[in-house]
Symmetry: C2
Subunit: 399 residues, 2 copies
């Protein structure tokens, strides 16, 4: 009975108020005036809007400095500066992956994210310590939040011998997804890196999620190689490209043609809605039928001071970045931060209909767009029907 609960007076995605019965962690019935039952706990939701559990589809749980005290930013502007500074500070500051990922996961949970895809660094210095730390967090929070681990060669794959073997080991172990990173910009070996990534995916039967910061034609070149391999390995629906800044190139016709190819190969895109960089346009992807999901990227880490893990705020940033103003368009931004992420993570039974898993968020707002614009503290968060957060905070204490 512990995952059974009767939620009263909630408004699914802003619709009329109703009640919701949850049994065995799933939504059993949605109807107004459901009868009380002996021993069945009830919660009055006060007319709050019900959303499905939000999905943090691109972040780095192992890197956050959350709870470690404020530290001055040290990295220079280049991508390489950030990568090298991070490796140094990881040692100097003891950014311990298990403790830090616990902190960030519980922070996100307080904001209503019930599923997280985290890239986790694998390199010849840290080895699998990051993967193991996040895996320990996943085990500790198994009844609170779904965590998917991407084995991520942040410091390079082909350019740092030994990393490929570590990725292979991570994928035999706790890692769920094969990561990659700027095959031209970081590794200067696009064929080498992408062949290796797709070979690992085939060997382990696991999906792929590749960071692609490369802008303009360079990014388009790498993207075309990813598309080609996705088809050759019959991995349609199993590949995500994160950032995909090249899709924000000024040549909109070229970008739309690439989006068409992504749609055809059923490749997903993950975005942070970075305001300072060209980004994939939500409207183009939606029109073509490409699934767009969203994430916080790094939260308060050696890369930068921003971020709080609030996916309603990310929906707002996605709306601002894409100039979405009409309510239906802002609702699509929220779709990316929920259903979009669920599609990419292939979450089973995701949604707010009868039969779905009861991963739910309640937020006091007049409409869905209002919730995105105002981002009020989440009133209640449930994971498989169990209350895991209230008033913006996870019930479980972070270490």
């Amino acid at each position: 009975m512990s995952n059974d609960i009767l939620l009263r007076n909630l408004r699914p995605f802003g619709a009329d108020a109703t009640d919701m019965l949850i049994r065995d962690g799933r939504i059993a019935r949605i109807a107004p005036g459901l009868p009380a039952e002996d021993g069945l706990p009830e919660e009055d939701c006060g007319g709050a809007i019900l959303l499905p559990g939000l999905v943090e589809a691109h972040t780095h749980l192992d890197k956050t400095l959350w709870g470690m005290g404020w530290r001055e930013h040290q990295a220079g502007p280049a991508l390489r500066d950030k990568i090298d500074t991070e490796r140094r500070l990881r040692r100097e500051w003891d950014i311990e992956p298990h403790r830090q990922s616990m902190r960030q996961a519980l922070l996100s949970l307080g904001h209503g994210s019930t599923a997280i895809r985290s890239h986790v660094d694998v390199d010849t210095e840290v080895g699998l310590a990051g993967i193991e730390g996040v895996a320990a967090t996943r085990a500790a929070l198994a009844d609170q939040v779904d965590i998917e681990i991407v084995a991520f060669p942040q410091s390079g794959l082909m350019s740092r011998p030994g990393t490929l073997e570590l990725l292979d080991e991570a994928l035999r172990g706790p890692a769920d997804v094969v990561g990659g990173l700027d095959p031209c910009g970081i590794d200067a070996d696009p064929k080498g890196q992408l062949d290796a990534v797709f070979a690992l995916a085939e060997k382990h039967g696991k999906p792929i999620d590749i960071h692609l910061h490369e802008p303009g034609e360079l990014g388009a070149f790498s993207m075309e190689m990813i598309i080609e391999r996705t088809r050759a390995h019959a991995m349609q629906g199993k590949v995500t490209i994160s950032h995909a800044f090249c899709l924000g190139m000024p040549d909109r016709d070229r970008a739309r043609a690439l989006v068409g190819e992504l749609a055809d190969a059923q490749i997903h895109v993950a975005t942070v809605a970075t305001p300072s960089r060209p980004v994939p346009l939500a409207e183009d992807l939606r029109a073509a039928g490409v699934v767009l999901c969203a994430g916080s990227d790094g939260i308060r880490d050696t890369w930068g001071p921003y971020g709080n893990g609030d996916m309603l705020e990310r929906a707002m940033l996605l709306g601002l970045r894409n100039n979405l103003r009409a309510d239906r368009d802002v609702e699509h931004a929220l779709w990316c931060c929920s259903w979009g992420g669920a599609r990419v993570m292939e979450l089973d039974g995701y949604g707010i209909e009868e039969g779905c898993r009861a991963d739910l968020v309640l937020v006091e707002a007049e409409s869905v767009t209002h919730a995105v614009a105002a981002r009020p503290a989440r009133k209640l968060v449930l994971k498989a029907g169990r209350v895991v957060a209230r008033d913006g905070r996870a019930l479980r204490e972070a270490p």
Copy 2:
């Protein structure tokens, strides 16, 4: 004595903890361990960071729908759609300027803005009703927040006969600043509009603030006409260009040359840090010595659903838009949202040194950058030494 207070244990701009004595609404002394005095109220600030009162340097107090219940967005994407839809809904929905500007001003005050520059619509339909409504708010909140009124021809100046006379009347009355708007894009008469605006400014001895959304070379053309007239009328230091999207043009050399001309003519720039449009780069302006201030623009109005009047959040958006990560750069973003606005509004005695007006904000954070990234509720806001807001809310109730 009512504006005398002893603030204990505060950290000016994140420096070491100290005390601050305020007498007659000004900062009289800053030193640790100041002696208590009979009858002098004290406030323990608990080590909070002290900032000068934030400055909302570009908004539209008369337009917000705050407190009117959520209303679905209706306007189409073009600037003209937004202007025409707004005029229609102003009538249909009774967007009453005094009530609405009271609501927004107190919202902003709760977030620590002690000075606001508001553009207020003047057109042949609304006449001076908007100006009068905001002027009534200014009078009602005279001891809470400084409000500067820009007489703003939102629906066009030359293209809507009768508007010029209304602007003239507004400037004889409560308006402080002459407004303008896209002299090409809206009026299709750049010479006519700009000559009229500068003539009004000269006649009334008042500064100018012109909305310039025009992108690329069109905006550069209008900007050059503004620069030329600023010099001809000897209005250096008295002219602000809001938005200035043309400075975000891809041709960075051309944009920097324009910035150089702005610096030479001592013209200021106001930005919203719009994530979906090219914007002036904070770094370019800073390097050239052009004052950049920032604002929320419209807050939850017929133009769009976003905004909350929080200038710490605006500093964050400015940081994200300009890719500012180092602490000193994020601090500059906050400078734009405080000192920058104060320069543009020519606020007397602004700052957090002895002798300055005690317009102050206290926020619990570990550092200034932390305050920008996390945007905690403002602990305390003082206007001329008087406590006007606590814990994120103005003490005075909004209508």
